[in-house]
Amino acid sequence: MITLNRYIKLVAASVVLLIAAGGMVTSTDSGLAVPDWPNTYGHFMFSFPLEKMVGGIFYEHGHRMIASTVGFLTIILAVWTWMIEPRRWMRWLGVIALGAVILQGVLGGITVLFLLPAPVSIGHAGLAQLFFCTTVSLALFTSPSWRHPRLPLVDDPMLRRVTLTTTVLIYCQILVGATMRHIEAGMAIPDFPLAFGHLVPPSWTAAIAVHFTHRIGAVVVTLAILATAGHVWYHHRSRSELTRPATLLVVFVLTQVTLGAFVIWSGLQPFVNTAHVVNGALVLATSLVLTLRGRRIAFALDGAATDMVRNARQAGGLLPGSELGRTRA
C-alpha cells in the first residue's frame, strides 16, 4: 500500500506538470498551433519529429505528450488500486480518476478541432483541477497517516463547514479565472490594484465584468482562507496534520495574489501567467487536503476496515465486499 501511495503521489506531481504545460499553451496562445487531433501534423503523436517541435508546436504538442503520459500513468493507477485496495469506494475513485483523464483528453481534442470554443476550453481547465484533486485525494486516502491516525480524530463541525466552504470558493474562483483566460479578458482591466484608476471600473463590458469578478473573488477567497487558517490555529494548534496545510494554504494564497498582480504588471507574461495557474491548483489541492482531514472522522473505520481485510487475507480468508461496504459506512 505504501508503494501504491508513493506511485499516486508521483501521478499527482505529474498532473501538476501537466497543468503547467496546459497553462503555457493558453498563455502563449498556442492552442491551435497543431490543427489536427489526435495526430500532430499527420504524424502519430509519439512519432512526431522532435526537431519540428518549434514555436507554439512545442507547447501544444508537448502538452499532448505529457497528457498522454499522465493518462498512461492513470491507467496503471486505476488497475493497481483496483487490484490491491480493499476499500471498494477507493477502487471506484481510481476508476473515476481514469474516466476523468480520458474525458479530459477528449475535451482537449474537441477544443482544438472546434477552434477553442470558450465553454469547452473552460470545461477542459475546470476538469483538469478536478482530476488533480482526485489524484491528491487518492494519495491522501492511501497515506499511512490517513489509514492509521495516531491521535484521536478531530470532530469539529465548524472546521468541516469552513474548510468545505473555502474549497468550494477556491474552485469557483478558478473557474472564473479560467473563463477570464479563455475569453481573453486577462487585460480587460489593465491596471492593478485599481481598475482604470478607480476602485470600481467606471465602465463595463462582459470582459471587464469577468475580470473584476475574479479580483473580487480573490478577496473573498483570501478572507476565507485566513478565516480557515485562523480557526485551525486557534482551535487545533496541537494538530500538525491540520496546522501544516493551513499554514501552507496561507502561503500559497499570498503567493497567488502576488502572482496575480504580476500577471497584470507584466502584461500577461506567459511564465508568470502559468505560475499563477499552477499555484492556483496548489491552493485548491491544499484546501482540499485540509477539508478531507477535517472530515477524517467520517472515514473513521477506514484504517480498521483496511486492516481487517488485510488480516483476513493473510489468514487465508477473504471478506466479502458487502461487509467491507457496511464497515466503511
Binding site: 496562445d29 498556442s30 518549434v54
Partner: protein, 255 residues
Amino acid sequence: MNRALKVGGFIAVAVALAAAGCGGGQPPAPAPAADAKRVDPATAGSVSGKVSFEGTAPAPAAIKLESDPACVREHPNGMTADSVVVSNGGLDNVFVYVKDGLGNYAFDAPAGPVKLDQKGCRYTPHVFGVRTGQPIEISNSDQTMHNVHGGGTANRQFNYSQALQGMKNTTTFTAPEVMVRFKCNVHGWMEAYAGVLPHPYFAVTAGGAFELNDLPAGTYTIEAWHEKFGTQTQSVTVAPKEAKTLTFTFKAATP
C-alpha cells in the same frame, strides 16, 4: 418497425442538422439585387489621399525568432514587426475603404484569387482587401510548419495545417467584415488582416497614399483602419468625374 423508422429518421435529421451547422462550409455570397445599377466609367470620380502619422513613430518592435531555427535562418540579422510602419510621414498598412453610401450597385466578381503567402515567417501582404466570395489562396513558402487560423465574427473560422513548404489552401469569405484576422499560432508574431467587402472600393496605404478609383457620384463615408491606431471616418461627396482628396491623421499617442 415503426419505432426503428422513427429512430432512423431522427438520426438522419440530426446528422443533416449537424452537417448544416458544422460541416457545411461557408454559405455562398449573396447575389446582387436584380435592379442593381452598374457604374458608368465615363462619369466616375475618385477619392485619393494620404494617411499621415503625427508625432514620433514608435521604433519597430523586434521579434524574438529563437523559437524556430528556420525563422532565424531567414532573418540572421533579426526581424521587426510590421504593425506600425511609417515612411515619409505616411502610415503604411492602413485599410481605407468606402464604408457607406454606395447604394444599389452591382460589381463584377474578380477573376483571380488574392494571394497570401507565408514567407520568412511573416505574412505577405500584412493587410489586404478581398471581395466577398473571392478566393484567397494561402501558401507556405517557408521551410517550416505553419498553421493558418483565420476567420472573424461574421465569417466562419478555420485552422489550416501547412506542414510543408509549397502547401496551399484556398478559402473564401462570404460576409462583409472589416477586418478578418489571420494568425499563425506556431509563430505568435505572425498576423495578417483582410478587409472583406462586397465592392471594389478599398486600398491599403503604401507610403501613406491611397486611391479609390471609379467611384460613382455620391456622398460616401470613408473609413481608415489601422491595427494599432483604430479607425477614423470622414464623409466626402464626389461629383461626376470629380477627383477628391482626403487626409487622415493618426497620432503617436493614440495606441
